[in-house]
């Protein structure tokens, strides 16, 4: 509940210009699912569960890494534009 409220707080004060990076940033944050996928795979028994767990880990790692790279690239631009300002 507290976390939900925090999320609401955080985003309600964000200027429109940062919505895309923010969406991409929150997209990165739910890459934390990787942790759960690792636990699921780590406790998996038998080939079926191992395959499912493996898929989960691969997908989650993609979410986390991809989310980070894309967000970082977007925000990089804001830094460059910031320098151009008087």
């Amino acid at each position: 509940m507290l976390a939900g409220f925090t999320g609401y707080e955080v985003i309600s004060r964000v200027p429109v210009i940062l919505h895309t990076p923010l969406m991409s940033g929150s997209n990165f944050v739910h890459g934390i699912v990787l942790v759960g996928a690792m636990v699921a795979l780590g406790q998996a028994n038998g080939p079926v569960e191992q395959v499912i767990g493996f898929i989960g880990v691969a997908l989650a790692a993609g979410n986390a890494v991809g989310g980070y790279v894309v967000t970082e690239r977007m925000l990089e631009m804001f830094k460059v534009s910031g320098k151009g300002k008087p």
Partner: protein
């Protein structure tokens, strides 16, 4: 290591809380342009801490597979994330988001295949998370395919809502069955197949213009799915991060839907764009202009407002536009950019592109700031935008976009529209602005047309 199990468990829990804290602080920093870059680094550190500590989790095996999975997913995503063009960003976000949803669903599947260890409450949460995650997974993939242009048509047929409802209820019924403990692996498979199907069916009829809202919605979905699976696994980092993303994503979705003057339900369930094509007949004709004349108009004006849209992004014209802006500024012309909340394919998409080109953000204005300024502007230059400047939204009650907040570009003294051809906008409706007496059409690809404008202005000296 010689740590006692209890101590190790404490360390893991503390690390997870630390990671969650870093996520929240990171997202918070992202809410101002200055701190934004630091924000993602903080969140990244949080992710690293959480991932590394998980290797210490008690009672784990399959480490080889785990590393292989991380490397496979990570390298593929790193490679594609580096390569993708800025204009293709929205669909990449959709893709990564879908992967997260799929991962949450995979966790649920692994847990539900050995349900003995789970109580009824945990099973319920696992099922709910699985449903949401799976829908987010298949839905995001469809959204990706649509934005990437792999699917062009919005598929609609009679009784679609009924079918969707039926599939959803069937999936739900299997879910309830699993909670009650009747499910073998057959039920688990049927449940996931139905959920996948529902995600596809739900997304297929939605038009491309609404995709940003949909992606944002699925982003929130994945967050919630992660939180639910976090409850199942008793993992504080997943619970907190998932809830934050879920609520933030929901709010973002609402903001976007509001900017288009539609409710989320309306986006998901109405057949936008299909019935509307016929209503757009407009009297008058489009009047072309050549680049030299258009250049003169802007160079000798005192105030120019540029309205960029997705067309600018497609044509990669943002750098040329910034060059044009600087040229005009050197001549003493005041130039501003007007950004509609849903310009492009994601909220803030245009801001990112302009920032990429080097446009400082203090001359970029949003709808509420800029609208009172249009009547004072000598020229409104519209590059690849269409529906967001259609005055029908203000004036014609029978227009399908009636009531959507628009940029009042038509109130400028002169309007110059750079456009590739005479086609319609993304919503498929005719734009009354193009037929106005004060509007001139400059045909051509965005980048090349702006280059001609620059040429035209340079020859004035």
């Amino acid at each position: 290591m010689n740590l006692s199990p209890v101590l190790l468990d404490d360390i893991i829990q503390v690390a997870y809380f630390l990671a969650a804290l870093l996520f929240i602080l990171g997202l918070k920093r992202m809410s101002s342009p200055k701190g934004a870059r630091g924000g993602i680094v903080w969140a990244g550190v949080g992710m690293l801490v959480a991932t590394l500590i998980t290797f210490l989790y008690p009672g784990m095996h399959n480490f080889g597979l785990m590393l292989a999975g991380i490397l496979l997913g990570g390298i593929a995503a790193w490679w594609s994330g580096r390569r993708v063009a800025m204009t293709a960003m929205p669909q990449m976000v959709a893709l990564y988001n879908g992967m997260g949803g799929g991962a949450a669903a995979a966790i649920a599947a692994a847990e539900l295949l050995h349900p003995e260890g789970l109580g009824a409450a945990a099973r319920t949460l696992a099922v709910i998370g699985a449903l949401i995650g799976t829908v987010s997974f298949s839905g995001s993939l469809i959204a990706f395919a649509k934005l990437q242009g792999l699917i062009n048509k919005s598929l609609r047929f009679k009784g679609q809502q009924l079918l969707n409802g039926l599939v959803f209820l069937l999936a739900l019924a299997h879910g309830v069955g699993m909670v009650l403990g009747h499910g073998g692996s057959g039920a688990v498979i049927a449940f996931f197949a139905l959920s996948l199907l529902f995600g596809v069916l739900m997304t297929v009829p939605i038009g491309g213009a609404d995709m940003p809202v949909v992606i944002s919605l699925y982003n929130a979905f994945t967050g919630l799915a992660v939180a639910f699976e976090g409850f199942v696994l008793q993992n504080p980092a997943m619970i907190i991060a998932g809830m934050v993303v879920g609520s933030a994503g929901t709010l973002l979705t609402q903001l976007m839907a509001k900017a288009m003057n539609r409710s989320i339900g309306n986006v998901l369930f109405s057949n936008f764009g299909e019935t509307s094509a016929a209503t757009g007949e407009v009297a008058g004709s489009m009047k072309p202009i050549d680049a030299a004349d258009a250049g003169v108009m802007m160079a000798y004006g005192s105030k120019v407002i540029i309205v960029p849209g997705y067309g600018m992004a497609v044509a990669q014209a943002q750098h040329k536009v910034w060059e044009l802006t600087k040229l005009l500024q050197d001549r003493g012309v005041s130039v501003k950019f007007a950004i509609h909340p849903v310009a492009g394919r994601m909220p803030g998409h245009m801001n990112v592109l302009l920032a990429e080109a080097g446009v400082p953000y203090d001359i970029i204005a949003d709808l509420d700031e800029i609208n009172p300024e249009f009547p004072n502007a000598d020229v409104a230059l519209i590059i690849g935008a269409n529906d967001v400047v259609n005055p029908d939204a203000r004036e014609r009650k029978d227009s399908p976009i009636y009531g959507m907040p628009i940029l009042d570009a038509d109130k400028a003294k002169n309007v110059i529209v750079i456009k590739r051809g005479q086609g319609r906008g993304f919503s498929g409706i005719e734009n009354a602005l193009f037929y106005r007496d004060n509007t001139r059409m400059l045909y051509g690809d965005g980048q090349e047309a702006v280059a001609r404008l620059i040429q035209g202005i340079k020859t004035l000296d």
